[in-house]
Every structure is written in structure tokens, then in C-alpha cells.
């Protein structure tokens, strides 16, 4: 597994709700990324966003990892929930909240801040700590 893919995997596992989008949580550069975030906001789920635009390799490695070809991609508790269409559909039917409860317990209901995060940094094994 490539190092980048491993960092993506770690980030997905670290964040209870994470959306890989084009842009940031404040400014999406794609209607579908915006739709996915609006669906999460609609149920009051705080989420972390990762911007895939700065490096095309992020999208490539993410899709290889998730077996999902498009952006956005939303994960809850480490599991791919879907892209914009599915997240919107689940939000409308109430299943998104059920999925959040199932994967995260009710802790997500306590709220939290939306934010855009960087991928996990891997520790450089060759770094010499003084």
C-alpha cells in the first residue's frame, strides 16, 4: 500500500465523519461536494473535510482504497456511506441519522465544529530526535 493511501486510510479511521470534497468546508468548488455537506449539516452531523484538489494523487489513492470513482465521498465510522446522491437520499429518508447512531453511538449529536483537515502525517522513521 502506498504511503499516501495509508495516510488516507488512517485519516478515515481517525475521523468519525469525514467528507472528501473539492474545496473546503467553507467553500466547495463543486455542486456535489456542497450537496453532500448540506446533507450532513441537515442532520446536524459535525464533519471533517479533506480537500482533494491540491494533489490529484489524493483522489486516485482514495478511489483505489474505497472502490468508488467519484468525489465527494463520505465515510462514517470508517465506512463509505456514499457520494452526494446517496448521502442526500439517506438524509431525506432518516437513514443517515440511523447510520450515524449505529456507527458512532449518540455522541455525534453533541455537535462539534466543521473543519477542513490535512491527511494524517506519518512519522518519518529516519528522523533523528535530538
Amino acid at each position: 500500500m502506498s504511503e499516501l493511501r495509508e495516510r488516507i486510510r488512517e485519516t478515515i479511521e481517525r475521523e468519525p465523519v469525514i467528507a472528501f470534497i473539492k474545496g473546503t468546508h467553507q467553500q466547495a468548488y463543486c455542486g456535489n461536494s456542497e450537496r453532500a455537506m448540506q446533507a450532513l449539516r441537515g442532520v446536524g452531523a459535525p464533519f471533517a473535510a479533506v480537500d482533494v484538489l491540491p494533489d490529484p494523487a489524493i483522489r486516485q489513492e482514495l478511489s483505489a482504497l474505497s472502490n468508488w470513482p467519484t468525489i465527494p465521498q463520505v465515510f462514517v465510522g470508517g465506512e463509505l456511506i456514499g457520494g452526494a446522491d446517496i448521502v442526500q437520499e439517506l438524509a431525506a429518508s432518516g437513514e443517515l441519522e440511523a447510520k450515524l447512531d449505529e456507527k458512532l453511538g449518540d455522541e455525534w449529536r453533541n455537535g462539534g465544529e466543521e473543519r477542513t483537515v490535512a491527511l494524517s502525517e506519518r512519522e518519518n522513521p529516519l528522523r533523528i530526535v535530538p
Binding site: 456535489n32 472502490n67 468508488w68 470513482p69 467519484t70 463509505l80 456511506i81 456514499g82 457520494g83 452526494a84 446522491d85 446517496i86 437520499e89 439517506l90
Partner: protein, 76 residues
């Protein structure tokens, strides 16, 4: 230009009860596809959409499809 996409979907889902392709913007590269098929029964939405993406892998890869919106349903 919805014909080629519809053909690919018909090949992938020959038993589809409902199959529709809509050129969402009129620009010929933003599509909404709807597929209702017994093949989706018992599959999660993620698995259902993966089957649609797989059927349209060619036009997705070569840029014919710039954006794809998907609605799928199993048959009850």
C-alpha cells in the same frame, strides 16, 4: 446524447423495470440516470451505485460523462 449511456445500462441491467437517462444540463456531459432492477435487491446503495459506475466505466473514464447523478432501487 443519452443513447449510448442508455445502451450500456441496458446491457448491464437487461432485466431493469425502469431505466432512464437524462441530460441534466443539455450540455451532453451531466447526466442523471435512474435504474430500477431486481439485481439491486439486497444490496446497499453503495453496492448498487458501484454496479452503475462499473457499467459506465468507459464514458466515465474518457470524459464523456463529466458528472453523474444516480438513483437506484431494487424491485420489491
Amino acid at each position: 446524447m443519452t443513447g449510448p449511456i442508455e445502451n450500456l445500462l441496458r446491457q448491464a441491467f437487461p432485466d431493469a423495470r425502469e431505466l432512464a437517462v437524462l441530460d441534466r444540463t443539455g450540455g451532453g456531459d451531466h447526466f442523471q440516470v435512474t435504474v430500477v432492477s431486481p439485481r439491486f435487491n439486497g444490496l446497499s446503495l453503495v453496492e448498487q451505485h458501484r454496479l452503475v459506475y462499473a457499467a459506465l466505466e468507459g464514458p466515465m473514464a474518457d470524459g464523456t460523462i463529466h458528472e453523474l447523478r444516480i438513483t437506484t432501487r431494487g424491485e420489491t
